[in-house]
Structure formats: structure tokens, C-alpha cells
Amino acid sequence: MNITIQAFGIAKDILSGSTTTLEVEEGSTVAEVKAILARQYPAFEKLASLRLAVNASYVSDDHRISTNDEIVLIPPVSGG
């Protein structure tokens, strides 16, 4: 299945854009998606942390992604 991932902050710089589309296996987990991203963009591994938000909530690494999910890369936050 194809998934679209949105990016903010430094993740946007790493992707050179605010979205990217990945081809992943049906029922892939967050951990698997992150591993694919790290292979394609090694700069992600240098970050202090990288989380994925699915449908505007933090999810754990074993969470399974669906095609219509809103998926957003969350590099280390620094508000305030």
C-alpha cells in the first residue's frame, strides 16, 4: 500500500519537502515505516528522537498503519 507522510521542522528539511509517499506492505507497523525512512534518509538516525503521529496522536512502534491514516513525522519538539 502507499502511504503519505507529512513532515515538520527538521524532518521537512531531511525530506526536502513537507510530504513524501512510501510504498509499504499492508499492515506495516510504525517501526517498519521508520526503518524504511532511515534507509532512504540516513539523516533521520542522527536525530535525538523520531516519533510518528497517526491521526494526530502519538502511537507506539508496534502500531499498525492503514492506508487512510494521517501520518506525521515528529522530530524532537521544541515549543515554548
Binding site: G9, L47, A56, G79
Partner: protein
Amino acid sequence: MEEILITSQRLDSKACTEAVTFPGAGGIVVFVGTVRNETRGKAVLQLEFECYEKMAVKELKKIAAEATSRWNLLKMVIHHRTGRVPIGEEAVIIAAAAPHRKEAFQACEYAIDTLKQTVPIWKKEFFEDGEVWVSAHP
């Protein structure tokens, strides 16, 4: 009770204070986080905040609701600025009202500490010789 605002307009600490002023509020604490002119001895020219707004609002509501229930607040208000913010202007304002001061102080501290860990907002510092996303690298 809570009030959350994310805006590219200048924040207003007076409005935040008024929003948490009640007859029963014996203690009102207002935290104002402003843009400092240096970081680790290096001059900062300005900041830029980027925000995943839908989720940031949700996370800020969660913080305000948790603080309200844990410290029995009358109300908490959190306003956060986005976009480019010049030196000295407000980046964030948190106002907490409680019957007594101790709860209001603790709630404010909890809110800013948690905001910095969980809310999807990203700060970029601009220097003379470049720009850096804050906290991105270990």
C-alpha cells in the same frame, strides 16, 4: 476549564490574565516565555516556530485539562505563537488560576515542562551565520 490558542499574531499577557480572573481565584500565576537574544553565548536574531496545529491544540488541551484536574484550578489558558518572532516578544503564555497560589505555581510549571516535551511545535533559531532547529540533535 481551559482556553487554547495558537496564533501568528502577537500574544497578549493582559488578556490571558483577565481570562483567568475570577472572584474565587486567590492565586493567579502567569508564565510568559519570551524570545531571548542569545543561546550558549551566541547572538540570536529571531526565532521561527512551526506547528502541527491540529495535534498541538489537542496536546495543549490535554495538558490544561490534566493541570486543571490535578491542581483543582478554576481555569488554565495557554497561548502559543507561531511563525517568526522577534527578540523580546512572547512565544508562549500560560495562565493558571486557583483558590491558592501554590497550586497555580505548580500547575504552570507542569504545563510549560510538559509542553516542551509533548506538543508538536518546532523552534528554529536564526544566527548571523546560519539557522538551527533547536534540540533536533543529541
